[in-house]
Symmetry: C2
Subunit: 217 residues, 2 copies
DNA sequence: TAGATTGTTAATCGATTAACAATC
DNA sequence: TAGATTGTTAATCGATTAACAATC
């Protein structure tokens, strides 16, 4: 008998809800309905209620949800109450881009170090963050207490980097390389693929005829 | 009675298969089995065969698939046989990052222009691509024949930018702003969210106890 | 009370897995 | 032929939708 686990898809949407609530709170709104949340993030109200039912029941029938309370609770569920020290491996175009992206910091993902094999890059700074040699991965991970790593190296280097990260004690990996990674079961792995989204677009644009295709993904 | 549509999830994997095949072809491999493709991209062999069955039957029982043939066919299905002129709206950290990312160009998404409201940025170049004022959106879209746009502006500006893009004749939009967009049915819309992946990681890292949770997403 | 909105159930829909006959 | 691997079917699993009783 399974505990009622929170479905993957639900967790993803909780992230959206929590950001919507952060905004609502900033705007001084104290109560929202599932309908309002739904409109705010682009899903159905039934979906919102179903998702929230996985994590608890804080709504008031006939009234809605307390913004402050729900927001605080979702952040807790998502593990966002304390900052996550994070590193980026690979100071190429993508790695540099992500290192400079403020969105991460705003939600508590603090980029503490960047790594690269290119000696030309090592020692320089990116957006105030130092670039280190890959040799020093273990040392710097320990020093920065980083628990999350973002991999932005070419596909053929990704597994070896992942191995190094695991050895150095990293607990979560977000992989931007288009290559499957094998990690021990205690390490959490997530895959991001920027190209995939564009290729989905491409597919649907070149479909032409099929008007019955939905237009969102 | 529905035509056998290709499921969303399948299209996403076709993108992976096609990149795997591109690599295999480069390495001079002429034949692959569903098992080899599966290992290469990190899914099951049954999944690969099922996915491919949606787009046709080119395998040879007892042998496998012809790399060259299958690769060519997948590119065609995905609409990647001709380049896609693309623009980026928003020259902030993320937009700049994406503009500089070579992965897009390699698969045929050619960034032709970047747009921003900041007069400080307008006129400068990013990775050889000129930054234009948002006022000139329509004009430049026409001049560059761009059909795809990537939105990298703050959430509160995203809908208005989307409206402008639609008016200017853009056919596909990849939205990086954490905000739902409304576009006419003939415009294809895709949503990308860098934070969501990190927050999924965060959730699973702070889960702790639940060891029965899978470790990939 | 009447109106509103939640939380939950059951029905539907879609995606994945496993198994195997077909066939190279 | 024997061995290998596809293409497809049926079974399973998971996610979404719709409807509504509960209740503020």
């Amino acid at each position: 008998m399974r505990m009622k686990e929170i479905p993957q898809a639900t967790v993803a949407r909780l992230s959206l809800y929590s950001r919507f609530l952060a905004q609502a709170q900033k705007n001084g709104i104290t109560t929202v309905s599932s309908e309002e949340i739904a409109r705010g993030v682009g899903v159905s109200a039934a979906m919102v209620r179903k998702d929230l039912s996985f994590v608890g029941t804080f709504g008031i029938r006939g009234v809605g949800y307390n913004v402050r309370e729900l927001h605080r609770y979702l952040l807790k569920i998502l593990g966002l109450t304390a900052p996550w020290p994070t590193i980026i491996v690979g100071a190429g175009k993508l790695g540099s881009a992500l290192a400079a992206y403020d969105g991460f910091r705003e939600r508590g993902f603090q980029i503490r170090a960047i790594f690269d094999i290119d000696p030309e890059k090592v020692g320089h700074k990116l957006n105030g963050i130092e670039i280190y040699s890959l040799d020093r991965l273990s040392e710097i991970i320990k020093a920065t207490k980083a628990s999350i790593a973002i991999i932005c190296v070419p596909a053929n280097r990704a597994q070896s980097v992942a191995d190094d990260l695991v050895r150095a004690g990293i607990r979560g990996i977000l992989n931007f390389a288009p290559s499957p990674l094998v990690v021990p079961p205690e390490v959490v792995l997530c895959h991001a693929d920027l190209l995939m989204n564009l290729e989905l677009l491409s597919f649907r644009l070149s479909l032409g005829r099929k008007a019955f295709q939905t237009n969102a993904c």
